[in-house]
Amino acid sequence: MYEFNYHRPASLDEAKRILSGNDEAKLLGGGMTLLPTMKMRLAQPSDLVDLSAIASLSGIEVAGDSITIGAMTTHAQVAASAEVSSRIAALSVLASGIGDAQVRNRGTIGGSVANSDPAADYPAAVLGLNATVITDEREIAADDFFTGMFETALGPQEILTAIRFPLPKRAGYAKFPNPASRYAVAGVMVAETGNGVRVAVTGAGANAYRVSEMESALSANFSASALDGLAVDASELNGDLHASPEYRAHLVVVMAKRAVAAAGG
């Protein structure tokens, strides 16, 4: 990797001070994407601002009808949390299926969501469960957050601090992993929430997105069979060595059905 300055601030304020006026600085969560990218010399940040010493960014908090997860909480912590598994089992399932044990022990929910990798799992949870992304400046609704491949609504100096998941009535997540990387080729979160049924897909498109036809079908009948005969348009989907757009379109439907089944539908 190229040389860079390393910072490990103890507070958000300090982190903000380092970021301010430093366009080439990058925030470091677990580093599971950023560090390999830097090792491959595909990223050259001037400064790395490691958020791991800011205690307020970690932890899982249950309050009334929601669970708030700090940005620096690792996938392994989410997967192991009884608070999470008893209230949103689909989120535990999702966290426990990310990458491998090493990735889960380092990778963080905030890093994953802020990166908006088209093949990451968490964006499907944020969007499907209608979560709210909390930053040091504001709260952003899930529907407004993911704006493109590796692009989000976050401003250049904005720090994602937590994600608040409202408790769904029921939810399920199913993922078809890339055989090599175990990233999602197609991952679908299906949830029946206070505001209706939501179906969010990751892995298949440029960023996580919702499928309104599936949402309507499941609103009428929350069962896998409600999705029979429903086809997804392949024209906008990703294609790579492992899955053509057509195969991905097929997998989105299969995973959606499995997610509904996992949700008890």
Binding site: Y2, M40, R41, F176, N178, P179, A180, S181, Y183, D240, L241, H242, A243, S244, Y247, H250, L251, V254
Partner: protein, 789 residues
């Protein structure tokens, strides 16, 4: 059986150091005043180099030199040599283009070496490498076999028109034509053998260290055969006499064939260390391994088999095109010829076999031996074809094999493609596999799978392989430019411990244990008092190293020959000490005893007497107790076996899950069953990897490697394989005293056809008769889609 002798599951002596971080690999070694090399590689698949400007890199304080092909060409003797020559059908030699360690005027694949930057740290060398400005004139490239032979394809070498390196044949074509004219039924198959990237756990590394005072070179390198590297690099590339060049291959973390070959970086660091007067170290990173370690396989074949009414094979005709990559790697020509087509008789008594092989240059990484080397390609083709033939003949896969097996009284069996099998019992290994696979209860398991919405399929393969390539004179007549014997020295120390020096090289195989068991068995010396030394040309006798499952059958036999000499001398010494006739001395369990008496000396007494020869027959016997033997085998060895695989296919996603895998193998006598089982597990896992996961993919337009990292190149993981059920059925090798055959490659040979036969069986209800390898979820889904339409 002694608890540490032949047949005992002795725990691997070397594992303590490996699992406690005590291994010493090439990259762990650092020399005083060492500097670091980083290789500038071609980003283009085919281009003329029109200029190299290193001035910006050289302006850095931490950069010592930037060396190019022109610098090297002025000082070295030649290019990287090819160690096996193959002739065309008309007897003319193959095209053998030069292979400079650093490109001089043209690059021919993405990853080709263009220049080397040498700096005071690895990071600095890498940073500076980005500052080396290479001007290229891009040329059209071709990476796949079909395009390489097409009219108007880009020409990679002037001396290889139409990109053909050689057009070779074996077998009696007229006899095969006659067989087909008599046939009442035939089956045919078009088959690809997918290209693989080896991915040993330890990336390659090399340190060149020149001693100006003594004018001597030392090369530390990740090699399976340090003497071969010393010979090839010293004599062919750098012009260094062997007595001035020491090659050390210390602990090596896996090779699978990819570390047999002499690579450019070895020559570069050795040459540069003299030029710069400092040790030069190079270590590949994983990305570099993908584009610089020799790849494996990459065949396209068409095969036809002729049968009579009873499904007996009358003749086999095979036409193969093989990808050799851009340059000839060290043993590349042997792999798709003598290590492949000679195995096409398989376990069968097919009377006529003919195979022609056209080997092609492409703008890809050189292709050479990878675990199994030619034999997996043969076994995959044949065992897929036999399953197809069974369908044509209306026989079960088991019945067609039994009807065609070489019978137990048929050995020695001369195949129509050069080899003579010495022993085997193909019926017994098949029966053993049927037994451990619980073959008869398949229907119940298939039903249980169906209840889960899964398609269960079962496939089997019966394979044969040829190990321990030999004898040297026969291999030489077939084009080998090296001997294929092995050496071993047994050095008994004065206090009775034993140091073994072997020309074999262990890079995961467990020789430090297996070879110690041979010594313990012969001399009765405690297994912890036996040290096996390998991998250092400064210590060991000239040896050929480890590949082709040869270590025990060749290296082990050299050791046995040396042990025989030790035992003979020990008996002479004991006879003197006991004042008895040599003929009356028995040597058993570490004791030399006058037969039928209680008068004995220990082996330790004999060792001490040999080195402190006060009471010793000095007039007729030299002091000391150290013997060396070179062993050249009389024939190949022929391990064989039957693998049975059961898969569950998810028709909704195309995912194939290997649910059961059984391997029944005949490896001859087994020295350490635990190590053998481990070899089978590893080999089968790699075989499952080839069948379901691993695929090297190039973009044929740009020549870029698309599967260039672990993110896209899928190695099998622990959760991709089931617990294996393994068993052995022994028939002894008839031409070595140990009766051993070899086990290292069997899994990678037997598994792919068993897995794919199972996948095809699972999909048979859709009418699917074939599927391309690897059977990835997408391919399986597509096969189901096209069949359902």
């Amino acid at each position: 059986m002694s608890e540490n002798g032949i047949g005992a599951a002795v725990r691997r002596k070397e594992d303590h150091r490996f699992i406690t971080g005590g291994g010493r690999y090439t990259d762990d070694i650092n020399r005083p005043n060492q500097v670091y090399a980083y290789v500038v590689r071609s980003p283009l698949a085919h281009a003329r180099i029109t200029g190299i400007d290193a001035s910006e890199a050289l302006s850095r304080d931490d950069v010592i030199a930037v060396l190019t092909g022109a610098d090297m060409a002025a000082e070295v003797v030649g290019g990287l040599p090819c160690g096996w020559g193959v002739c065309n059908k008309d007897g003319s030699p193959m095209a053998e283009p030069a292979h400079p360690p650093l490109a001089t005027d043209t690059v021919r694949y993405v990853g080709d070496q263009v220049a080397v930057v040498i700096a005071t740290s690895r990071a600095a060398a890498r940073d500076a490498a980005e500052l080396v400005d290479v001007d290229y004139d891009e040329l059209p490239a071709v990476t796949d076999l079909a395009s390489a032979g097409a009219d108007g394809a880009p020409q990679i070498w002037e001396e290889a028109p139409a990109n053909v390196c050689f057009d070779w044949e074996i077998g009696d074509s007229a006899a095969v034509d006659e067989a087909f004219s008599k046939a009442t039924q035939t089956a045919s198959l078009d088959v690809v053998n997918n290209r693989l990237i080896p991915n040993a756990m330890e990336p390659r590394a090399a340190i060149g260290d020149y001693d100006r005072g003594k004018d001597e070179y030392t090369l530390f390198t990740t090699s399976q055969n340090p003497h071969v590297i010393r010979l090839l690099m010293g004599a062919n590339v750098l012009g260094i006499p062997e007595h001035k060049l020491r090659v050390i291959a210390p602990d090596v973390g896996g090779g699978f064939g990819s570390k047999i070959f002499h690579y450019a970086e070895e020559a570069i660091v050795t040459w540069a260390s003299k030029r710069l007067g400092r040790p030069v170290k190079w270590t590949a990173d994983r990305s570099e391994s993908f584009v610089s370690d020799a790849h494996g396989r990459d065949h396209i074949s068409h095969a036809e088999i002729a049968m009579n009414d009873d499904g007996e094979f009358l003749g086999l005709r095979v036409r193969t095109t093989a990808n050799l990559g851009a340059y000839l790697s060290t043993f590349a020509p042997s792999v798709p010829t003598y290590l492949y087509a000679t195995l096409l008789a398989g376990n069968y008594k097919t009377p006529a076999v003919y195979c022609e092989v056209k080997a092609m240059f492409t703008n890809t990484v050189p292709v050479d031996a990878y675990r199994g080397a030619g034999r997996p390609e043969a076994s995959y083709l044949l065992e897929r074809l036999v399953d197809k033939a069974a369908k044509v003949a209306g026989l079960t896969p088991i019945e067609i094999r039994r009807r065609n097996f070489v019978p137990n009284d048929g050995f020695p069996y001369q195949t129509p493609v050069a080899l003579e099998y010495d022993s085997g019992d193909y019926f017994a290994v098949l029966d053993k596999a049927l037994e451990i696979s619980d073959y008869d209860n398949f229907a119940a398991r298939k039903k249980a799978s169906a209840n889960k919405g899964l398609l269960r399929g079962r496939g089997l393969s019966t394979y044969i392989e040829a190990c321990g390539i030999a004898p040297s004179n026969v291999a030489g007549a077939l084009g080998a430019r090296a001997g294929l014997y092995e050496s071993g020295t047994v050095r008994v120390n004065p206090t009775g411990s034993v140091t073994v020096l072997t020309g074999s090289h262990s890079h995961g195989q467990g020789h430090e244990t297996t070879f110690a068991q041979l010594v313990h068995e012969a001399l009765g010396v405690d297994i912890d008092a036996i040290e096996v030394v390998h991998g250092d040309t400064g210590k060991i006798p000239f040896g050929m190293g480890t590949y082709g499952s040869r270590s025990l059958a060749v290296g082990g036999m050299a050791l046995v020959a040396a042990l025989d000499k030790i035992k003979a001398k020990a008996r002479k010494i004991a006879a003197h000490l006991l004042e008895a006739s040599e003929d009356d001395v028995e040597f058993e369990n570490g004791e030399l005893r006058i037969a039928g008496t209680d008068r004995a000396v220990t082996f330790g007494d004999v060792a001490l007497a040999a080195y402190v020869p006060h009471n010793y027959p000095l007039d007729v016997l030299e002091p000391g107790l150290e013997e060396t033997a070179f062993y050249d085998p009389k024939n190949f060895t022929f391990p064989a076996g039957c693998h049975i695989c059961e898969v569950e296919v998810d028709p909704d996603t195309g995912v194939v899950n290997v649910d059961r895998f059984c391997a029944a193998d005949d490896f001859g006598r087994i020295i350490n069953p635990m190590i053998v089982e481990g070899q089978v597990h590893g080999g089968v896992t790699q075989g499952i990897g080839q069948a379901l996961f691993e695929e090297c993919v190039y973009d044929n337009e740009s020549g870029q490697l698309l599967s260039g990292s672990m993110m896209d190149y899928c190695l099998p993981k622990a959760d991709n394989v089931p617990n294996f059920d393994v068993a052995t059925n022994v028939t002894l090798c008839q031409h070595n005293a140990l009766g051993v055959k070899g086990c290292g490659e069997a899994g990678a040979i037997g598994a792919p056809p068993a897995v794919i036969n199972a996948v095809v069986d699972a999909l048979s209800e859709y009418g699917v008769e074939d599927i391309a390898i690897p059977a990835t979820p997408q391919r399986v889904w597509q096969a189901i889609q096209s069949a359902s339409r």
